[in-house]
């Protein structure tokens, strides 16, 4: 076990929120077609409130801090927040579209000892990237930002969300990352909007494309290993918990709401009304999340994929139940291995075993 894994295990035992994702604003200068946020400002936390939260998080033992948004640089006080966070010795990662990063911002981030800056790129062709962000010239500026950050010696990662509108573009973005000397990550996850609107889900790539991604050695490395049928789940799997959300990780919105994870919008408290540590320790919602083991999942516990599935309890929650399957992950497990999920089998069963005759009352 690596030292880092050991620390994670210890944080889990001690109930420490080792990693926190804080969105400092939902405002943004881009209008990405797949974005799940409402970009109006509904009363963001002030500089003072955010500093207070950071102090509380340091006291609670948080080590990894992700600062994201919206676009973080839409806040004029962003560097004040960042400086404060670094003074409190957090390991800080920043997620940004890079459009507002010039040399002085890049230098400042380096001087402040930021661990990594992640920049979103959707295509290396401006006509596709800019059509997604709806900001003309955005690709050029994002790439310029990556160069500036890199030239300061910062670690940079390109995050490439894959959807119907940029499906054939990932090889180009991956090559761009290589040319720029930065890390590349591909993510085919599209989440419903924060208000529950699911219309953007039609941007999810079709199964055939997902299958091609999972069987592409340039993206997954060893395809045989990555796409291997799942091994029989042992007892340790059934006693295991789904992910770090609520166990060693938490998410805080610009309005102070606390969720188990950025992709798990279960309202668990608000730091404007309560101390973070009280929410973390005593919120019934977080305690419920923490109580769930794989064996408690009615459908997934019967699924052959349960030990290897990327099942996101947050996506499952948005589909109706945090104990339920997440259909996006069912699709991933299926396209990866060719083996149907328990949820797929259940639905096929329901369709073939419907009532033989449907009697409808006569319209009068």
């Amino acid at each position: 076990m690596s030292l880092m894994q050991e620390m994670n295990e210890r944080a889990l035992e001690l109930g420490v929120p080792l990693g926190v994702h804080l969105d400092v604003t939902y405002r943004c200068n881009e209008r990405c077609v797949h974005c799940y946020l409402d970009h109006d400002d509904h009363g963001e936390m002030t500089t003072g409130e955010i500093k207070d939260i950071l102090q509380q998080l340091a006291e609670a033992g948080t080590f990894f801090l992700t600062l994201s948004g919206g676009e973080v640089l839409m806040r004029r006080d962003f560097f004040e927040i960042l400086e404060y966070a670094r003074r409190l010795a957090f390991n800080v990662r920043i997620k940004t579209n890079g459009v507002m990063i010039r040399k002085s911002e890049a230098r400042r981030m380096r001087d402040l000892g930021v661990e990594q800056v992640q920049v979103s790129v959707y295509s290396r062709r401006p006509e596709i990237h800019d059509a997604i962000t709806k900001l003309p010239g955005s690709l050029k500026r994002s790439i310029e930002a990556i160069r500036l950050l890199k030239s300061q010696g910062l670690k940079v990662a390109i995050a490439n969300v894959l959807m119907t509108v940029n499906m054939g573009e990932h090889a180009g973005v991956q090559a761009l990352a290589k040319e720029l000397g930065v890390t590349y990550t591909l993510d085919p996850t599209i989440t419903p909007k924060i208000d529950g609107d699911t219309s953007i889900l039609n941007l999810r790539i079709p199964g055939s494309e997902l299958k091609a991604v999972f069987h592409n050695k340039d993206l997954v490395g060893n395809v045989e290993e990555f796409c291997a049928p799942p091994p029989r789940p042992g007892e340790d799997v059934m006693e295991g918990y789904p992910c770090s959300a609520g166990h060693t990780a938490a998410y805080i919105t610009p309005y102070g709401d606390v969720f188990p994870c950025v992709q798990f919008p279960l309202p668990s408290g608000n730091v404007r009304r309560q101390k973070f540590i009280d929410i973390w320790r005593n919120s019934p919602e977080l305690n419920e999340v923490r109580s769930i083991r794989a064996k408690d999942l009615p459908v997934c516990s019967t699924c052959s994929h349960v030990g290897t599935c990327t099942r996101c309890p947050g996506l499952a929650y948005m589909e109706g139940s945090m104990r339920g399957p997440s259909t996006a992950d069912c699709e991933k497990s299926f396209q990866r291995t060719g083996i149907l999920s328990a949820n797929m089998l259940r639905q096929a069963h329901a369709h073939t075993h419907g009532p033989l005759i449907q009697i409808q009352p006569l319209a009068v």
């Binding site: 670094r86 390991n91 000892g113 661990e115």
Partner: protein, 104 residues
């Protein structure tokens, strides 16, 4: 032997977890955990206090270790951390105000 002065780099992240200090360098992402003694030295590394004084005051007195052993261990620890850019070492006292990081 000339006196050494040590200071915490501004490029590190640090937090105490279950009594141990985790330290990570943003330069090369090396990750360390420090035991109690190393943590005490780390926290006292203000760029102004001579290393010998830190060893006497924060290690020998606190942990009841003899000076020779404590000094040898501290030298080794300082050399390892400075190698990764986590501790800054100088023959003269220096100002850490440019570095943002508190002792965590």
């Amino acid at each position: 032997m000339s006196e050494k002065y040590i200071g915490r780099s501004s490029q590190i992240a640090a937090r105490v977890l279950g009594g141990e200090m985790m330290v990570m360098s943003s330069v090369d992402s090396t990750f360390f955990t420090l035991n109690e003694v190393a943590t005490a030295i780390w926290q006292a590394a203000d760029g102004r206090t001579p290393l010998t004084e830190i060893v006497v005051r924060n290690v020998c007195d606190e942990f009841e270790v003899d000076l020779e052993t404590a000094r040898r261990d501290a030298e080794q620890f300082v050399s390892e951390l400075s190698h990764h850019g986590i501790l800054l070492v100088s023959d003269h006292p220096f100002d850490m105000s440019a570095g943002p990081v508190e002792a965590a």
